[in-house]
Amino acid sequence: MKLLQLSSHVLVQALIDGLLYGGLLALVAVGVTLIFGVMKIINFAHGEFLMVGMYIAYFLVAGAGFNPYLTIVVTIPAVALMGVLIFKGTLSRILSDPPMNQIMLTLGIGMILRNLALLVFHGDVRTIRSEWPDAHFNLGDAVVGTPHVVAFAGAVCAALGIAYVLRRTDIGRGAIAAAQDATAAALVGVSVRRVYMFAFALGSATLGLAASLLVAYQGVTPTAGAYLGIMAFLVTVLGGIRSILGCFLAGLVIGLAADIGAAVFPGTLSQGFTLCIFILVLIFRPQGLLSRRQA
């Protein structure tokens, strides 16, 4: 069967692509992990925040002639601010409501954002006109996209940065305390509401970063964030819902599974491969890759 023949070139290419894709997934997922870890709220509008960031970055590049990577000076604060406003305006009012209300709220925000984008920008695919999308270099027989490598580096920096903030700053330690026991944290003087807003803003800010990194090689559409958003939930669950390192590893696992699946399996089977890995992890390590089982 010639169809199943696997060339080592393809496998190496898949490993590289999978690793780089995994880093990007981790970057998108780290915000979900952070927000859920601290607030116990899943932000289902996560992918749409990313999409908004991508439009901002796109228009800065297309309209104002920015270098795609320079757009982070706008996208990171802009998406973080959007997170703060949405948190203050909506989420903070229903923090003690049943989880279902919170899910419905974030789902609704996501739908509104997506459809607003459709209304304003239509379904066109917008790609920046720049040398970045095609920039690449050779690594042996494999071809490596330069913007993909930059995105991976950005993901590593973001994960390290968040880990640093959580461990070494007051507000970060407050976030960890609130995550462990919100009442106890409040009793010892942590402003839980402020910590929540901080977590939500920081989680959103990572999407601003992801948006700028993505725009360098990806077209923007109103549904551009939806796919990565869903993959991010997969990564978050796989990583163990509150571990930043776990989230990063899970991103790599999902990314590698997706690309190796695409390299090895025929037809549509390749896409099932990622989900098989996911299900296997859920069966054998339901608490996630790195988290300890909760008492």
Binding site: K2, T127, L228, A262
Partner: protein, 429 residues
């Protein structure tokens, strides 16, 4: 014994009730139909209507809203032209009127809108839709409601393959595009300038995994086998994937003579970029997908050059009427007519059928559509590449797609011979 009978009795009783309800519902429905038929019959008997309502169903909101709006513009342009030329003459110059519905790209919304158009707006015929997933429930509804449905763009084979009496289609089938791709591949040695292209012995198929891609893929495989071309790589992907380098590198590793693809827009761009990055030299032949859209050329610039694809309409080889329509549309709406040519042609088919039927009586109109025949030489407006236009026994327009190639950032006709104004160029990286 005694006890065991009781539930049976109960079941029997429920069964009888259920049967009664069903019979009553059927009777009611039948009466409803009868009254409808009667009123329709009498209106048609007494006087010809002055206005003939054409329901038009396109996605006016949702991800392809812009395309849907252009569909409406194309259809309205045709209606305006027909009305300006005196409307339907056999019906005393009756004017056509478009009643617009929005499918929102969703089957259930599309179906609801079809219902509204028929039951409330009382349209005489429906044209649409963009997506096959919407066309399928609408075609089934029109079959029950006995309203003719002319499919302008949706391409899934099943729409005209399931023997529906009230559904007609001026658009190509997905199968036809898939077949065209293979025929173009086989003809490459004769099409390439200087005969520099060897006989095609192997091919790779690279396809997005939605219904469209699956149908193209199936047709690709059928005709590749028929032409004794070996499939050396068979790779599918999710069109939402943010990167397709691995998939394309797998195709490259198999070293095929040609690559057949079926795409949407974003993935078409990703494939083209990956092809360039990996330094592939083989020609890529797409079905009608993402490569046929203007933004494919706009986004990729010179990287788009060399891409081959199948299409329905190409302005340079189009007949005079086709070029006229193309230019008019560009002038009036600044849109790309080529993607909607089959929808535009559909309105002229409807007008011809109305002319022949001389009535909006559903049965007469349906029969007129079955037998409709447009002959360019007789002054009928045909803009698609053909001299006569007819439906086959499945109510599907008999036609073959054209092969075009992106050259210097525009699509030019290269296949089949009758329309090939340019040789195929090899753009080797």
């Amino acid at each position: 014994m005694h006890r065991s009978l009781e539930p049976k009795h109960a079941a029997l009783r429920i069964g009888v009730y259920a049967l009664l309800v069903v019979v009553a519902a059927a009777l009611l429905a039948a009466c409803g139909n009868d009254t409808n038929a009667n009123t329709d019959g009498t209106t048609n008997g007494t006087s010809s209507p002055k206005v003939i309502k054409i329901g038009s169903l396109w996605p006016l909101t949702g991800p392809v809203a812009k395309i849907g709006q252009e569909c409406v513009q194309v259809v309205e342009m045709a209606v305006d032209e027909i009305n300006a030329q005196g409307g339907i003459k056999s019906m005393g110059g009756a004017k056509l009127e478009i009643v617009s519905g929005d499918t929102g790209s969703a089957p259930d919304i599309g179906l609801g809108e079809a219902r509204r158009l028929v039951e409330q707006e009382k349209v005489d015929i429906i044209t649409g839709t963009y997506q096959s997933t919407v066309a399928i429930p609408v075609s089934q509804y029109c079959e029950r409601a006995r309203v003719p449905f002319l499919v302008g763009i949706a391409a899934a084979d099943v729409i005209t393959e399931s023997g529906l009496q009230w559904t007609f289609r001026t658009a190509q089938t997905t199968h036809n595009y898939g077949k065209g791709q293979v025929e173009l591949a086989v003809a490459l040695p004769t099409l390439v300038e200087g005969g520099a292209f060897p006989e095609v012995k192997t091919a790779a198929v690279l396809w997005e995994n939605s219904e469209f891609g699956q149908a193209v893929h199936a047709a690709n495989l059928t005709y590749l086998v028929q032409h004794h071309i070996e499939v050396v790589a068979d790779v599918s992907y999710d069109a939402m994937s943010p990167d397709l380098t691995t998939q394309v590198s797998r195709v490259k590793a198999a070293n095929p003579d040609v690559v057949l693809t079926s795409t949407w827009l974003n993935d078409a761009i990703l494939i083209r970029r990956a092809r360039a990055k990996l330094g592939m030299e083989q020609p890529f032949i797409d079905a009608v997908g993402g490569t046929s859209v203007d933004s494919f050329g706009e986004d990729l610039g010179p990287l788009a050059d060399g891409q081959l694809l199948m299409t329905d309409f190409e302005p340079e080889t189009a007949n005079e009427a086709g070029q006229q329509a193309y230019n008019d549309f560009k002038e009036q709406y600044r849109g790309d007519f080529s993607s909607y040519a089959t929808a535009y042609q559909g309105i002229y088919v409807i007008a011809k059928a109305l002319e022949n039927a001389g009535s909006t009586d559903p049965d007469k109109l349906q029969a007129a559509l079955v037998n409709v025949k447009l002959v360019a030489a007789d002054g009928d407006k045909i803009i698609l590449p053909m001299d006569t236009l007819q439906f086959d026994e499945k109510h599907q327009l008999k036609s073959e797609p054209l092969g075009v190639q992106w050259q210097n950032n525009v699509m030019v006709p290269v296949f089949p011979d009758a329309y090939a104004k340019y040789p195929v160029l090899l753009y080797n990286e």
